[in-house]
């Protein structure tokens, strides 16, 4: 009898084990919730985005290679003019250029903040960068319109609206995000890496270049992906300075457009379920696929560059 009781006592899960199970369950449900949310939105965009091809019979190849965007008009071949190539090109160009421009600045600043002058970094740079993340994109766009566009116009000619202005505005916009995430990545490199390297006689720069940056590569790549994601998905600010014309960019200062800028301007003016509206959702789907592509590329690079 007593044996039975003892056995029960011993086999009963302890309080900590119960807590453990509960904790695991709670955190798992949080993740499950996110997965549900993500799949819901991805499914939603995919379904809406495919409607133009399945219901309105827009030719997929024409969509990706066509250069005329005027979905309410039928083109010469009897198909609606829904060529998204100009926007795809525009989105690609501004995203890549702004990331190329922002990355060295962001990494440099982050290194400065963490490795070279942590005090000044923490006092000035960090608060300023965090402050700028919260400025609405309308304000960025407005400043771009007042300052960047006229400057570009006087320096490079044209109307000032175009890829270059878009890139510059996006550069400033994503700089805070990339910088502060890069700084986090550098901060999480264990201290003994630095100590070991310095003890081996390496200079500060050698330590930074050969050890810290290598160790932080995955984190830095995440930062860049997020920065690119932001410039990719940014609409209001870019729309104000890029000119928003569905034309193939012929130079860095010719008016062009991005997927998001066309999407945002068109969404409110079209009727849900109509062809004009469906092709806009197709643009959103393209956006989704392209960010998937970006992600994969960056991950591949990250795998190669990471410290073994």
């Amino acid at each position: 009898m007593d044996n039975e009781k003892l056995k029960r006592e011993l086999f009963r899960p302890s309080k900590a084990a119960k807590q453990e199970r509960r904790g695991k369950f709670i955190s798992f449900s949080a993740l499950a919730l996110i997965v549900v949310a993500v799949s819901a939105i991805i499914l939603f965009v995919t379904m809406k985005g495919l409607a133009a091809f399945t219901q309105n019979h827009v030719n997929v190849i024409d969509f990706f290679t066509g250069r005329d965007w005027n979905p309410s008009v039928k083109g010469a071949n009897g198909q609606p003019e829904a060529g998204a190539l100009p926007m795809i090109t525009g989105s690609f160009l501004v995203t890549i250029f702004s990331a190329l421009l922002a990355t060295p600045f962001a990494i440099g600043t982050a290194i400065f903040m963490i490795e070279i002058s942590p005090k000044r970094g923490a006092k000035i740079l960090q608060p300023v960068t965090e402050l700028l993340v919260g400025i609405p994109s309308v304000v960025y766009g407005f400043i771009g319109l007042m300052v960047v566009v006229p400057t570009v116009r006087t320096l490079f000619g044209g109307s000032g609206f175009g890829i270059l202005s878009g890139t510059l505005v996006l550069f400033v916009m994503i700089l805070p995000t990339v910088t502060s995430m890069t700084a986090d990545a550098l901060r999480s490199v264990p201290r003994y890496y630095r100590e070991a390297s310095l003890a081996l006689g390496a200079t500060q720069w050698q330590t930074i270049w050969r050890v810290i940056l290598r160790a932080a590569t995955p984190g830095i790549l995440t930062a860049i992906v997020f920065g690119m994601a932001r410039s990719f998905g940014e609409a209001l600010a870019v729309q104000m300075v890029i000119g928003n014309a569905a034309l193939m960019p012929t130079s860095l200062v010719s008016p062009s457009s991005t997927l998001t800028s066309v999407l945002t301007t068109g969404m409110g003016n079209t009727v849900m379920g109509s062809l004009q509206n469906n092709v806009l959702w197709s643009l959103a789907l393209v956006l989704l696929l392209m960010s998937l592509l970006f992600n994969l590329i960056i991950r591949l690079i990250g795998k190669k560059g990471a410290m073994k």
């Binding site: 319109l145 109307s159 729309q239 928003n244 014309a245 409110g268 003016n269 849900m272 004009q276």
Partner: protein, 291 residues
Amino acid sequence: MTAKTWRRLIIASVIGILTLTAYTTRQVGHAGESVTAVGSTALQPLIEAASEQYTSEHLGTFISVQGGGTGTGLSQIQEGAVEMGDSDLFAAEQKGIRANTLVDHKIAVVGITPIVNAKVGIKNISQADLIRVFTGKVSNWKQVGGRDVPVVILNRAQGSGTRATFEKWALNGQQSVASQEQDSSGMVRQIVASTPGAISYVAFSYVNGGVQPLSIDHVQPTDRNVTTNRWPIWSYEHVYTQKHPKPLTRQFVKYLESHEVQSTLVKQLGYLSPNEMKVERDAAGHVTEVK
């Protein structure tokens, strides 16, 4: 029970009691009286101002006025998701809308004028030249009597009511060339004011010192010329409802059409009242004189 559990229990019950008290002491009686208007951002300020006046006179009613664009307004009223759909266009002009299922209420008339950057150097343009400019056949302002500045065309977004009206009545139905686009009047005005050689079009109420409105064939863009249709570039601002709207919707639309709103708010916001018009226009564009 430990002190911690007690504390939690007490906090939980305090919150519970507070919520319950709040719920039981809430204002009851007008719970169902709320309607939503969605659509045209151009019309939003007017409806919003009118709804503020209306709800302050009829306590307990609640009118939520949102923008979202003409397309959103019409699709949502068609779906029955909202009570009022604000539109810059006749429902029949918008693709994908079954106009006969909706009831049209013309709340205001808006005149639209071409505007150019002040340094272009012209104040008048012939309609033929205007069409040539917007169809891309003129690349420099000196070809139509202005200064030596390249033409920069700025359009409203495809599907925008202002653009549709402008293309229909100023360009005689011709489509503008692919060009820069913006989706709001404020941005258009801002860009035209700051970009050399820029041309676009806005509603009369958005014209200010920074931009130069153009006369067409020496007809000036004035309210008076709109009422007689000498200036043909104008459109109605519509509020669409379902065929059998809620009582509050019906009353509010009636209020919008009343003399009280038409003679004050409509004017103050820079619109014309449909009552002043000496002509009438239908969805197909036929103009008839009002007797």
